[in-house]
């Protein structure tokens, strides 16, 4: 049952030599063998390599390694297929990368390895992180562990499902418009998007460079703080990484949230919100008040424009970032008589429908004659959206919202209507546009009456948004809530 443990539970047992890292790694591999035929979170993994890393961790522990210096020693962690791990495959769940293997480690991977983590497996995602259901993977459709007829969310659906199904102890994903928080909410785990610039993106395949951040998926809030502490910090290899000291996030978990001021944005409690989600979030607000936080209404008046601004800025940046996939330097080339034909053939054959849709949209909004009307206007509205958040944070310490308007939807339910899919991100996008930190944690369940499901319920996520570099406040609030509610102790399988 070692695969069901949290990071803090596992490392405590490892430190006491009650269990070995090999046992923990083997337990995760066994769970993958047992359930991943249904869940389909993993695109690939190497048990031999994973167990070799586990043995190295066991040797380090036997030699007296210090867990305070290596807080992830012997902890099996899996990664979204968008992060570079030296000599491992990297595909972004796309055909266009062919048999690519990474020549170097992403900075987050270097940091995880230095902290002692066992890095294993490539987790499924929407192709190039474009999607909200993981249905846009070129390889397979990941299922929600709570109900395999439903989506796990996206784009980091594999990262969320693997943690929720106890196939790994923790995972990393990336969040451009909600791609960590939304799947964490729908799969019932903790997911965090740090402040823009907090975590280096060196070795993260770029989607929308002014929005992307890497963050953890974990089974509880303490683990999120532990992983965030490891992966955060300035990196000369990422010019957008901010040279600011990294707090000891785990020390922020005091349990005391008395006097913290919470803001409820009136624009978020609108039509389309599932009644069960509303009920759970209302109850969570009441609970946080009972713990001593104060609650007031705040206004984010430009919220209604988040999705439109996002789909201009994110697609514009994506169209530029994905220009590098042209069959010249890496990936699966489709020949042509001249370079232009080769680019077009390679990209036409290699990219899936959603990626093509976004490249076309992004190219259009940047094209001559339309730049001012679309891209520049969107950047200006982005300023207004960011100002709304910063103004709200003059009155409150954190903003509290549902993470998603509904629990997990069914496979195929929105696949044919891109705009409906885009609107499922309505509560998570503002955080990326404003560059602030956000966290989703379980806050209850909606009944799921359908037959044939393993569990008769679906997780609901609570989103906490903080000031720039306000991660400690979010973690403190989330931890205090979590430790006085039962939701995080439930397992999907």
């Amino acid at each position: 049952m070692l695969h069901r443990l949290t990071i803090s539970e596992l490392t405590a047992r490892l430190a006491r030599r009650e269990v070995s890292a090999r046992d923990a790694m083997q337990a995760c591999l066994d769970q993958v063998a047992r359930v991943d035929g249904d869940i389909k979170a993993f695109l690939s993994l190497s048990p031999t390599d994973a167990l070799a890393q586990a043995d190295a961790a066991d040797q380090a522990i036997a030699a007296g390694a210090d867990f305070s210096a290596q807080p992830l020693l012997g902890v099996p962690i899996a990664l979204k297929d968008v992060l570079a791990v030296k000599d491992q495959p990297l595909n972004c769940a796309s055909r266009i990368l062919g048999s690519f293997t990474s020549p170097y480690d992403a900075t987050v991977v270097t940091r995880l390895k230095a902290a002692g983590a066992i890095i294993f497996g490539r987790l499924n995602m929407d192709e190039f992180a474009m999607g909200s259901s993981t249905e846009n993977s070129a390889f397979q459709t990941t299922r929600n562990p709570w109900d395999t007829s439903r989506i796990p969310g996206g784009s980091s659906g594999g990262s969320a499902a693997a943690v929720a199904a106890d196939e790994c102890i923790a995972s990393l994903g990336s969040d451009t418009g909600g791609s960590i928080r939304q799947p964490a909410a729908l799969c019932g785990c903790v997911g965090m998007k740090p402040t823009y610039g907090r975590v280096s993106r060196y070795g993260l395949v770029a989607f929308a460079s002014s929005l992307d951040q890497i963050g953890p998926f974990t089974k509880d809030v303490r683990d999120a703080a532990t992983v965030l502490e490891v992966i955060s910090g300035h990196d000369p290899r990422d010019a957008t990484s901010i040279p600011q000291p990294v707090p000891r996030y785990t020390q922020a978990l005091t349990g005391d949230i008395r006097g913290l001021r919470l803001g409820l944005p009136k624009e978020f409690m609108v039509g389309g919100l599932d009644p069960e989600v509303k009920r759970a979030v209302d109850a969570a607000v009441t609970h946080l008040q009972s713990l001593g936080a104060t609650v007031q209404e705040v206004s984010l008046p430009h919220t209604d424009h988040d999705v439109a601004v996002y789909y201009i800025i994110a697609t514009a940046e994506a169209s530029a970032n994905l220009a590098r996939f042209d069959g010249v330097r890496y990936g699966a080339r489709v020949d042509g008589d001249d370079p232009f034909k080769m680019y077009g053939n390679t990209r036409g054959a290699g990219f899936g429908a959603e990626v093509k849709r976004r490249i076309i949209l992004g190219t259009y909004v940047l094209s001559s004659g339309y730049y001012d009307a679309y891209y520049l206007r969107a950047q200006k509205v982005r300023t207004l959206i960011r100002q709304d958040y910063l103004r709200a944070f003059e009155q409150v310490d954190a903003i509290i919202t549902p993470t998603t308007p509904t629990p997990a939807f069914r496979l195929g339910e929105k696949a044919g209507d891109p705009l409906q899919m885009y609107l499922s991100d309505i509560f998570t996008i503002g955080c990326n546009l404003a560059g602030i930190p956000g966290l989703s944690l379980p806050c209850g369940f909606a009944p799921n009456a359908e037959r044939g499901t393993r569990n008769a319920k679906l997780p609901i996520g609570l989103q906490l948004l903080g000031k720039p570099f306000g991660e400690e406040t979010l973690l403190r609030l989330a931890h205090a809530y979590e430790q006085t509610t039962p939701w995080h102790r439930e397992h999907a399988l």
Binding site: A308, S319, P339, G348, L361, Q379, V381, L384, L433, A434
Partner: protein, 95 residues
């Protein structure tokens, strides 16, 4: 469709994407729908508002101009679809 001058063939050419006729038709219709939705941004008064390119703009991020280890030629070429003599091979560019 709110952007009547949206020409899928032209934009696909700019994006260096070869599309099938079916893709052109489907993407054209879906993008018309999405562009229609995006039109709502025209309601917002942005007079005098500065654009945001980055939430925390960092300017002149320099590092010391020092030689340090980088990828080897072999590592840089390890994923190349075609390589020869330590170089990427591409179709002929000039006559």
């Amino acid at each position: 469709m709110s952007a009547p001058d949206f020409n899928i063939k032209y934009v696909a050419h700019l994006a260096r994407l070869k599309l099938t006729p079916e893709e052109e038709q489907q993407l054209g219709a879906q993008l018309g729908n999405i562009l229609g939705y995006i039109e709502k941004l025209k309601e917002v008064d942005v007079a005098g508002v500065e654009p945001t390119a980055h939430a925390f703009p960092m300017v002149n991020v320099f590092r010391a101009d020092e030689v340090r280890p980088g990828l080897s030629n072999d590592d840089a070429l390890r994923n190349a679809p075609k390589r020869a003599s330590g170089l990427f091979v591409v179709p002929k560019v000039v006559e």
